[in-house]
Amino acid sequence: MNERYRPLAATATVFVALFVAGGLLYDNFFSTLVLGDILADNAFVIVAAIGTTFVIISGGIDLSIGSMIGFVGVVIANLDAAGWHPLVSAGMTLAFGAAFGALQGLVVDFCEIQPFIVTLAGLFLLRGACFMINLDSTPIRHPFVEAFAAASVPLPGGGFLASSAIVMFVALAAAIVVAHFTAFGADIYAIGGDRTSAALMGVPMRRTVVGAYAVGGLYSALGGVIYAFYTSSGYPLAGTGAELSAIASVVLGGTMLTGGVGLVAGTLIGGMILGLIATLINFNGSLNGAWIMVSSGALLFVFIVLQRTLIAPSRLRIGG
């Protein structure tokens, strides 16, 4: 097997093992119903995490994801109250997300400030903007959103694939094409792998960095749209801490935070593992939210150590 795919295989194995373990422990766990629920509940984080995968592969980081999710929801809810069609406001927030991401990328590259700090300012700015717009949860009452939240495709075995999950799969497919079949995707890998070599080989540095953050912003805005439609509301605290779940999903998906190594598809499975853990603990009933945090951390630890010891990172570099 190509060594590139080994972390992906490891992640998938962990997911299958956890899912089978859940099926052995609890009745009715091993079903498409549970699988569909995990996908529907976590679609917004996974979408945002897919965008972050681009930023992380380029060697950066994006902390503004959670705030972007909250901000987009609040904007859509308020525009809905003003009589806008949700699809129009969604399109507008997506454009805003891409522009905001691009601006963050520009500041990172032009001012040579660490991405951690730039996107931290982005986190504060967008969350603060949420609070400035309104402090309470605003319902979205448009019939389109109701239809979206209710829409689903039946799966064999009694489960449902929710509309948010379908949007997620479409976004994932687009991301895979961009990452692995375009020159822009190759440039992102090149910059993350070795900045100096990439520059010497003529990779357009600024355009690529700005582009990677723009993709990150676009996808986190899309995550926000999905969340707003799925919950039919805009809440200024929505998505708090989602940046952590997203980064954890990316890491669990086998992408290295040092940049240059990783697969977009891995992020999907990483995000599903986090969702699966939460579901497993909810199924138990006697455990509480504390267990979700601790076991997610424990899994992150096991996974990182395995990645560190079993797989030599240098052999995973693409084209290196």
């Binding site: 040579e112 400030i113 700090i117 504060f124 700015l125 609070f131 935070l257 504390a290």
Partner: protein, 350 residues
Amino acid sequence: MTTDGAMSALPQTKRSPRRVGVAARRIAWPALALALILAVDGLITPGFFSIRIVEGRLFGNLIDILYRAMPIAVVALGMSVVIGAKGVDLSVGSVVAIAGAVIAWRIHRGDPHLLILFWALGVGLLCGVWNGLLVAALDIQPIVATLILMTSGRGIGLMINLLYGGTDPSFSSPLLQFLSVGHLGLVPTRLVLGAVIFAGLWLLVRRTAFGMFVEAAGENARAAELSGVQARLVRFASYVVCGLCAAWAGVVLTADTHTSDPVSEGLYIELDAILAVVIGGGSLSGGRIYLGATVLGAVVIQALTTSILTSGLPPEYNLVVKAAVVIAVLLLQSKNARGLAFSLARGEKR
């Protein structure tokens, strides 16, 4: 060639006049930011700078800013050491939460309160050891390594609360409350203790070889190893220092609220601490520790928050104004952005 690299990686310990000049310039930006914030306060709020003595203690906005900045400043001091060693510690908020939970737990068990203080610090030490081992022994990237404790730490705090039923994590402790909200003579105790911690760290960093080793390891780990510095050990130690500092902030914050609340205690303190280091001129790429400027950075952050609250702006504006100031300070520090601003200004004149 390798020896040359190794030699240049070691920062000079002697304070030449030039170095003092550089230090003055470095501290100028955060000092300017603080002066601006305070000047605006003075204009908006009459009597902003007045300091009175009420019930035998100092009282006033300036004291309040220092008082509230102290936990962030202590965490930021620890963070500046970690960042100096080219690391970062995202788990400090979780350490605050765990230390708080341990305090509530041991008080419910009836331990002597002085012992509980050591329990809390011991737990912080343990968290630092854990992070240090992940980074230094397993060679895991610092953001990822400390992300583990960051995601699970608040869960651990909640579990500790469950050890004694977890129904009522509130407590009262005269000793701990004296350390946090009490006062020594006119001055709040936590400011005195904060000054002691600062002095201790300053001695450790500037008057022993430790600081030089940290900066060398952060600047160029390989060169430091070649010149005989045990870079791994130094990096490990930096996380232990940071864990201890975070635990102390946990003691102060928990004793202040009289209860352990692992979900929200010290929330986002890691971001504020890192921000304080960066506003103080520290670079996340490592190699330098600026203790004084870091404290100044923490004071800038708190001055901003206090100003927004006293100026009558709705508290919702807090985050946006904070973001704007952060961006302004960062742009001022960036050579490229300053260059662009200057050329724009010159272009307008023509």
